[in-house]
């Protein structure tokens, strides 16, 4: 489950677990009604394994005691499986972030839950350790064979951890499906930006769009009315001057506002657009902040999403 801050993702997890009561509606898990406006199954009876964002490990207990709290499965094999057997006697405050996350996961799994809920399991970690921990997390959850609902605010994490993705915006589901569909066919501004696409707004008539910022863009498929214009960063090439014969129909003069070169790639900020090119190209062109260049891209690389005439707040953010 992904979505912007405040969309209600954590709240949804808590509703499912029974830690929060819904104002209305129902909570049904695998045919069992947990909440229907009248009765609410108590939290302790729902058998939900919850991994909190800050892990909520009991500070006065050892790792083993934490995992054993509420355990319905044998504790020691589980400690082995999750790779924390060597930490069994340690106290939570002595553990690293990744270790704490594993303990929290082991504790949830030990209670033999019928459903796993993970609230941003990676956001409390250093970006540098996140990748490794994410892999491990993915492995453990999949091999546990328990259905899991994972909240994340990173597109990359959603793609690597999730089989299905649900997008929540302001409490409503705006898109759901395969992770890659978010990139291929984003339905809202949030989804487009979340998947890393450039997002602009303008007015279309036929195959032309006039952006709010003034530039004109050529489309491959005609559109009409108010639209959101989406271009992937890697579809944008940067040129110094207008090329003679190019099949690309869009060449927009832009100012380089930022330039970040990592090992093999360069992310070039071009005002409202971001382009991704190879680091080699960036160096060959001697790009630098403040220069005026041309952002070029094909009409076929441009996607449009129709917007309502009076754009709703959720579409704008």
């Amino acid at each position: 489950m992904v979505g912007p801050s405040g969309a209600g993702k954590s709240t949804t997890l808590r509703l499912i677990a029974g830690l929060v009561k819904p104002d209305s509606g129902r909570v049904i898990c695998n045919g069992q009604t947990w909440y229907d406006g009248q009765r609410a199954t108590p939290v302790e009876d729902r058998r939900v394994g919850f991994v909190f964002q800050d892990y909520a490990l009991f500070p006065h207990m050892t790792v083993r005691a934490n995992v054993a709290y509420g355990a319905r499965l044998p504790v020691d094999p589980l400690l082995d499986q999750v790779g924390i057997a060597h930490l069994a006697k340690a106290r939570p405050r002595k553990l690293s972030g990744g270790e704490r996350q594993r303990v929290a996961l082991a504790r949830a799994l030990a209670s033999d839950p019928r459903l796993l809920l993970l609230d941003e399991p990676l956001s409390a970690l250093d970006p540098s350790t996140r990748g490794r921990v994410a892999e491990r997390l993915s492995e453990t959850v999949r091999s546990a064979g328990v259905p899991a609902l994972i909240v994340t605010h990173s597109y990359e994490e959603a793609v690597s951890l999730g089989e299905q993705v649900v997008v929540l915006e302001r409490g409503k589901v705006t898109q759901s499906g395969e992770p890659h569909a978010l990139l291929r066919e984003p339905r809202t501004a949030f989804v487009a930006r979340f998947a890393g696409l450039n997002y602009l707004e303008g007015n279309a008539s036929g195959q032309d769009v006039v952006l709010d910022t003034g530039e004109r863009i050529r489309l491959a498929e005609p559109a009409a009315g108010r639209v959101a214009v989406l271009i992937a960063p890697w579809e944008i090439t940067i040129e110094r001057s207008r090329p003679g014969g190019s099949s690309a129909q869009n060449h927009i003069p832009v100012l380089i506002s930022s330039l970040v070169i990592t090992a093999n790639r360069a992310r070039v900020g071009l005002g409202a657009l971001t382009a991704e090119i190879t680091a080699d190209s960036a160096r060959a062109l001697a790009l630098a902040e403040g220069q005026t260049v041309l952002a070029s891209f094909k009409a076929t690389a441009v996607q449009t999403i129709p917007l309502a005439d009076e754009p709703e707040p959720s579409m704008r953010s």
Binding site: A17, A56, H60, Y69, G70
Partner: protein, 248 residues
């Protein structure tokens, strides 16, 4: 100047008059013994009853909660003499429930039980307030985690809330105990001052002051010494526990 104001009275007790003479009088030790016996029982009662009450007040919402909390805090602002009077009027022989108690053969005023009641009445708000604050400071995720792991309210209370809040509970206990030991006004009104039965140390100081200054001084010094020892050791214990919970 503030330090002098606080320190001088304490120093004076140890230096004016003859401590040795005072310590020889058996009355001093009896009074001290009664003080510590009754305050220990009172503390036990406060902890056993006050802790669950504080937990409920700290973690749940219900109609009338503010009213109930205020009721528990009231004795704090009540003059002890008024408390004593109230206790007498409620539980005395001719008090509100006096006749019912008499019928059961229970006479409360002027007994050790009365001392315990008076101490508990005036000191429990101190403990309960501290306990509420200690429970309120617990990361709610810890309590939620316990529940998702199948822990009902009782298990969550005993195995998570109390241990995690124990530094604060300990601090509250020390405070409440000190208040109980020092309790005078309510005690003298409700429990009287029967030497050997209900004459606690503060009462003995007050009454004996005129006859034997030395005895009063001795009692005072002993009280200061013992109280200081308890206070310091409790603080060290509490700091130790609190440090164990802090992340590295």
């Amino acid at each position: 100047m503030a330090v002098a104001f606080l320190a001088l009275p304490l120093i004076a007790i140890f230096t004016q008059g003859s401590l040795r003479e005072g310590l020889r009088q058996p009355g001093a030790w009896t009074a001290l013994k009664i003080s510590f016996e009754t305050s220990a029982v009172s503390l036990a009662l406060m902890i056993v009853f006050g802790t669950p009450i504080a937990y409920v007040l700290a973690t749940t919402e219900f109609v009338g909660k503010t009213l109930l909390t205020t009721l528990f805090e009231l004795p704090l602002v009540l003059p002890p003499a008024v408390a004593g009077l109230g206790l007498l009027m409620a539980f005395g022989r001719f008090g509100l429930v006096g006749p019912q108690l008499s019928a059961l053969g229970i006479e409360l005023p002027f007994t050790k039980a009365a001392v315990v009641m008076a101490m508990t009445f005036v000191a429990s708000p101190l403990y309960v307030r501290q306990a509420i604050s200690a429970f309120g400071a617990i990361d709610p995720d810890l309590l939620d985690a316990s529940r998702t792991l199948g822990g009902g309210p009782a298990k969550t209370f005993l195995r998570v809330a109390v241990p995690v809040a124990s530094p604060g509970l300990g601090a509250g206990g020390v405070l409440a105990w000190a208040r109980a030991v020092g309790e005078f006004g309510a005690t003298i009104l409700f429990a009287g001052s029967l030497a050997g039965v209900t004459e606690t140390a503060p009462v003995a100081i007050y009454l004996g002051f005129a006859q034997s200054l030395d005895q009063a001084l001795a009692l005072g010094a002993l009280l200061i010494a013992v109280s200081a020892i308890v206070l310091v050791s409790a603080k060290l214990l509490i700091r130790g526990r609190a440090l164990r919970f802090m992340p590295a």
